[in-house]
């Protein structure tokens, strides 16, 4: 892409030459023996079908129903999350931050796109985009408002900029009206966006209670 090109959108309508360039690069790396194309297929499949925000939702739901687990999660998130089977790349050092009626947490990576892969998968386009990275630290309330989340001045906003290899996951508040719900039912209320902190967890009104 030329330097003069004005790129007005966040994601991807590549010129055809990018597609060709990627194909050419892969065939070169395969010909040299540096990469196994089948390994690339497995990597893609892992993040398309196995490693995603449903993992994080299970962590949150467990914390909502099990006070002991929640305490462990807030004290040693890496170990607590690993006990549910989620660990590894881009989640080697996990930290969970808890929303309360008086504290709301929001996660960003202003310098690149750091994100807790084992629990949330790969980040959405908006999380990696310039407007989010620029504004989350300087105008978090404006960012939250764009996601439809308006919080009173009595709620302190804590923004976590992921500048190190520590990865942050927000523990949203358990929605009202969910007494007696099972972990599985609760997990359906936990969105990816609520674990980044741009939204609250869904209310029971927004979902059909799963059986």
């Amino acid at each position: 892409m030329s330097r003069e090109h004005h790129h007005s959108h966040d994601h991807t309508e590549p010129p055809a030459d990018v597609v060709l360039r990627v194909k050419a690069l892969e065939s070169l790396l395969v010909e040299k023996g540096l990469v196994d194309p089948a390994a690339i297929d497995v990597l893609i499949d892992a993040y398309e079908t196995k490693i995603g925000p449903r993992n994080g939702a299970r962590v949150v739901a467990r914390a909502w129903v099990d006070a002991g687990f929640k305490k462990w999660l807030l004290n040693d998130a890496t170990a607590a999350i690993a006990s549910l089977g989620y660990s590894g790349r881009q989640g080697e050092h996990m930290k969970v931050v808890e929303n309360t009626p008086h504290i709301h947490n929001l996660v960003v990576c202003t310098l690149c796109s750091c994100y807790p892969w084992p629990v949330l998968g790969l980040p959405p386009v908006w999380y990696k985009s310039a407007p989010y990275r620029a504004r989350a630290v300087a105008d978090p309330r404006g960012v939250l408002k764009e996601f439809g989340t308006e919080l009173g001045d009595d709620v302190q906003i804590r923004v976590w900029d992921s500048t190190s290899e520590v990865r942050y996951l927000v523990l949203p508040e358990r929605p009202a009206g969910t007494d007696g719900w099972t972990e599985e039912q609760l997990a359906a209320l936990v969105t990816r966006n609520s674990m980044i902190g741009v939204e609250q967890a869904k209310s029971p009104r927004e979902v059909d209670k799963p059986s």
Binding site: V22, S27, I157, D161, V166
Partner: protein, 222 residues
């Protein structure tokens, strides 16, 4: 480096334009998938680490960095890494024909399909011992040093010169500024809380704070 990647606090990018969560695919095109997979698979060859890799993307011309989509930046970074480490030559990249196969020393690290899940699950922890005791304690007031290195750093511009409080001690982690040069040393890492007005003055949001992970080299007593 004071590059286009260091975006915290910049104006003018407009709205965030998030796609609805339920509808957004993990990848938006097949070529993005292949770039993602190639980056991870080539990384297994151990010719670079994540700091070197980040720095390769940051070193693009700022207009290119901001004009590219995310995976275009990954592609540009990957091509740069492959050439700078000698895994491929510029001629090979231009012709997409291999002049010679990779050496045996490289091929033994090649990521095989059956090893992918184990490799991902293991990850690569960043903890590394340091040879000095920590200089700061929880609750200490610290100033992020006003420094402008031309190499890689993880001290964002918007905290430099600003005063915060040590909120958490993370232990000793690989120091990215040197790691990006291929030198792996452990340094103390702290979570530092900055109040909104300390960072943004009269333009700060009410009742807000930013927490930033900063290595000891980035900090001085305040």
């Amino acid at each position: 480096m004071n590059g286009a990647h260091d975006l915290g606090g910049m104006h003018g990018f407009g709205r965030i334009n998030a796609e609805p969560e339920a509808e957004e695919p993990v990848f938006h095109a097949d070529w993005e998938k292949r770039v993602f997979g190639m980056q991870l698979a080539a990384g297994a060859l151990r010719k670079w680490n994540s700091d070197i890799s980040r720095h390769a993307r940051e070193r693009q011309h700022p207009v290119d960095y901001l004009g590219h989509s995310y995976y275009e930046n990954w592609l540009a970074g990957l091509e740069k890494l492959l050439m700078e480490t000698g895994l491929v030559t510029a001629e090979e990249l231009a012709s997409s024909k291999a002049a010679q196969p990779a050496g045996e020393d490289l091929l033994k690290h090649r990521l095989h399909a059956e090893a992918v899940i184990t490799t991902l699950t293991r990850g690569s922890p960043a903890m590394m011992p340091a040879d000095t005791p920590p200089r700061f304690r929880l609750g200490d007031r610290v100033r992020a040093r006003n420094r402008h290195p031309t190499g890689h750093t993880r001290e964002p511009r918007y905290v430099r010169g600003r005063v915060g409080v040590i909120h958490e001690y993370h232990g000793t982690h690989v120091f990215p500024d040197l790691s990006a040069e291929g030198v792996r040393v452990g340094r103390h890492l702290y979570g530092v809380r900055f109040e909104g007005p300390e960072l943004w003055g009269e333009n700060a949001n009410g009742n807000s704070a930013v927490y930033v992970d900063l290595w000891e080299d980035y900090l001085e007593p305040a």
